[in-house]
């Protein structure tokens, strides 16, 4: 009886840890976007790390990312990054609504189509944030700089996709198996 209970508890705990891992991955990506990486000199394109994670989980595990979690993630990033408070929260929420609307289409697509979707997502996000900053600073952003950021951010996705897909498959496996 006790052994059975312990086994059930172990299974439940293992399942809980597996799902907590999704948030841990996003936390890690968020921190990674704030660490200086001098070797690659990718500087400002690091926002792509978080967007890549968010984009992937919103397609494959949307139930794990209700609106309030995205809001908290965005706000935490705003406060950690000393930018305009609420900007990431607003842009991530908007992005999440669009991705959730398109996820049925994206789920059936090969990975390069999903990558193309990511390029669209990061482009929209960067342009939106640039426009907000252009309005607040009364100054147009450098288009080459913006294009460079979008390009570098887009190039990250193929590195993250297989790793996140592995974890997604691991989540689908039951610990009992």
């Amino acid at each position: 009886m006790m052994t059975e209970f312990l086994y059930e508890f172990y299974l439940a705990f293992a399942r809980f840890l597996k799902f907590i891992g999704v948030y841990a991955i996003m936390g890690f990506l968020s921190l990674l976007s704030m660490v200086q990486i001098p070797l690659l000199n990718i500087g400002d394109a690091r926002q792509g790390f978080i967007v890549a994670g968010l984009y992937f989980w919103l397609i494959y595990r949307p139930s794990l990312w209700p609106a309030w979690t995205i809001f908290i993630l965005g706000l935490a990033l705003d406060l950690a990054g000393s930018g305009l408070a609420g900007l990431n929260a607003l842009s991530f929420l908007g992005l999440a609504m669009i991705i959730k609307g398109q996820r049925r289409f994206l789920l059936g697509q090969p990975w390069h189509m999903i990558w193309a979707g990511f390029v669209v997502a990061i482009t929209c996000l960067q342009i939106f944030q640039s426009l907000i900053f252009a309005m607040t600073e009364v100054r147009l952003p450098n288009p080459w700089f913006l294009a460079g950021n979008i390009l570098i951010s887009s190039l990250f996705y193929p590195f993250f996709h297989p790793l996140l897909m592995m974890y997604h498959r691991y989540l689908s496996d039951d610990p009992q198996d």
């Binding site: 990674l32 926002q47 607003l90 908007g94 913006l146």
Partner: protein, 338 residues
Amino acid sequence: MIGEGKNHYSRRTVSSPTGRRNMREAAIGAKIGQYFPYALLAAACVILLVSLLHPMKWKQARIEVAEQISPALSTLSLPIRTFESWGEELSLLTNIRAENARLRAENDQLKEWYQTALLLRAENQSLKDLLNVLPEAEQTYITSRVVGDSGSSYVKTLLIQAGTENGVEEGQAVMGRHGMIGRIIEAGPRASRVLLLSDINSHIPVIIEGVNQRAILMGNNDDRLTLNHYAPDALIKKGGRVVTSGIGGMFPAGLPIGEIVSIKNGAVNVRMLSDPEGEDYVQIVERPIDQKVKESLESLKFPPPSISNTEASGAATALPSPSISSDPAHPPSKSPAQ
């Protein structure tokens, strides 16, 4: 079969009053769930507006968040730094002969400069003595590691692992390897944020060496800075060094910042001497305090141990509590030991 069972179950729940209540609650829940993301969008808009109108509103929250994430960022940056140092060592090993020759030549040059500097220092000192110039307060620094940055294209900040517990204060100048890179804008107990000179919100008073022309150095969210508010007839030349003017008392005068690299249609561009993006460690310039003021502050912080508790309490009742007053008519009271 499974489908039929489900239909039967749903029909049964709808027909009972409890089931109907459940259905109604579920419908309300679904409706709330449907509009909840829009409510959050509206909340984000409100936060954004508040942040635009009152940028200091989130300062405390930012300090708290920086305080919490700085240890994690420090740990995460450790392997990156290790890889970086390996790469540097590898490139050094491959170029060791050329590097050695370059350093020898540089050393010879520096020895000459050292002799010149000694002569100039002696001359400078004798001239100061002749003019009876008041000695400047000694400059002290706090060295700290950089643990992270804003991670955004539109905000140029650094997060450092030193705070008020280490003597860091808001407004202090921050130096890189070769020159000033920014100033402290938020100081928590163990972590602080540096606004880089390249940030669009950075405006500092500077002076162009040689021509002694005052100006304001502004950031562009770019690696080049712009000089503004200088006299139209100023003789600004390419290669001129830009240093802090010390006007306003915010920073000490003479901190090197950069050099003028181009002058096009009246726009003067300055390249920073230190690349803030590549700095692992920074030095925070402590505000110079007069030695006498420092001593009196120290004595106020730590009461002399010779006074016993009863004596101290008696003194406290007899004398007003020690305070620093800026009013010359009411000078700060001295402790009994003084």
